[in-house]
Symmetry: C2
Subunit: 219 residues, 2 copies
């Protein structure tokens, strides 16, 4: 397998976590989202991924895009260890949490959107950061309510094993911190994060451990 | 089953299509996204849907949120007629198309975002419409490339039967038209739309046939 990834992309990190958790190996191809106007827009990459986003996974010449579709594919093909529960109601709940992040938080705050706000609409950096914090906070509030439900035992979103919900949550919290979002109101989410980061599949796949991460911290 | 829906919400329409296609009935509860500051923010509705968005589906007192999670749940519980193919590679492709709409087009253009642009950032209506058209066009371009692949037979995105891809595409094209997006560059998508709208599950669930649709056309 080959994974086109950017160290700081939370969508790419989701796939790195799932691969690692399932013990699958993929050769990593870094796609630098800023260099040369964005390597994701290079024609050769767009042959694989017409939208020009990361990640893209390749297995046996088959091309897979969209991080959640890739997670579902890995679950279909390599069901153990599972990242989805078996019960349809629990599966729906886990997927809803993952989609709250993938649809209602992340798309509003990724690079191409922040750049459009800056370049096309002339929105200043303070207002862009407020925009970022607004959507993250709205989404995390809902996730805190969902996870801190009566009877939650932890340590993961759905109790004793990580699922798609955790796979999406950890990169989102990492990004939220980067943008200075105050996480004090989200104790359950932070507790889940601690449990996840104790697992190598989450910790070893973090942005700073990627081959394309800069050696010095960047702003 | 009970479905909390807004006639013009494309996420709610996805669920209405899936229910109708599978021959399932749900009692409809309209949630007016504009009236009284947005009925989706009423505390009683937020008990069901903490993020304050539509749709929400209820079955046997169980609450389901996020349209794609609801589609997956319906597929798990009521597999026939199927809206996902059986082959894992085809499933991944169908889900990727659905997610391109659900993650990379729709979230940027829904009401809460357009209102934030207007109210908080003071973005004027011409620039908001350009914003809308930009993200729709980017996404539809990628979808046209994906669907107009070599060997495509039609009439649906994945050939002979509708899938999640079509379920997400039809409401998105409807919305694109509402905002005056030129669809001439997307002949494959428009052909798929025609095939879908010949099916009652797609046509009869359209916004204008909803009980909460205004009798007179609104701007």
């Amino acid at each position: 397998m080959q994974l086109y990834s950017y160290f700081r992309s939370s969508a790419a990190w989701r796939v790195r976590i799932a691969l690692a958790y399932k013990g699958l190996r993929a050769e990593l191809h870094p796609v630098h989202l800023l260099r040369e106007g964005g390597e994701q827009y290079a024609p050769a990459y767009r042959m694989l991924n017409p939208l020009g986003v990361v990640p893209t996974l390749i297995e046996d010449s088959r091309v897979f895009t969209q991080s959640l579709a890739i997670l579902e594919y890995l679950e279909d093909r390599y069901p153990e260890p599972a990242l989805l529960p078996r019960d349809p109601v629990e599966r729906a709940w886990v997927r809803a949490l993952a989609l709250t992040i993938a649809c209602d938080i992340h798309p509003l705050n990724n690079l191409r959107v922040l750049r459009y706000l800056e370049m096309t609409l002339g929105v200043g950096s303070a207002e862009r950061e407020a925009w970022y914090r607004h959507w993250v906070t709205q989404g995390l509030k809902a996730l805190e309510i969902e996870t801190a439900r009566p009877g939650w035992r932890g340590p993961f979103a759905l109790d004793s094993a990580p699922t798609f919900a955790d796979v999406c949550l950890i990169p989102q919290l990492y990004n939220a911190r980067r943008f200075g979002v105050d996480l004090q109101s989200f104790p359950t989410l932070v507790a889940i994060e601690q449990a996840c980061l104790a697992l190598p599949a989450f910790a070893a796949t973090a942005p700073e451990h990627q081959p394309d991460a800069p050696r010095e911290p960047t702003p």
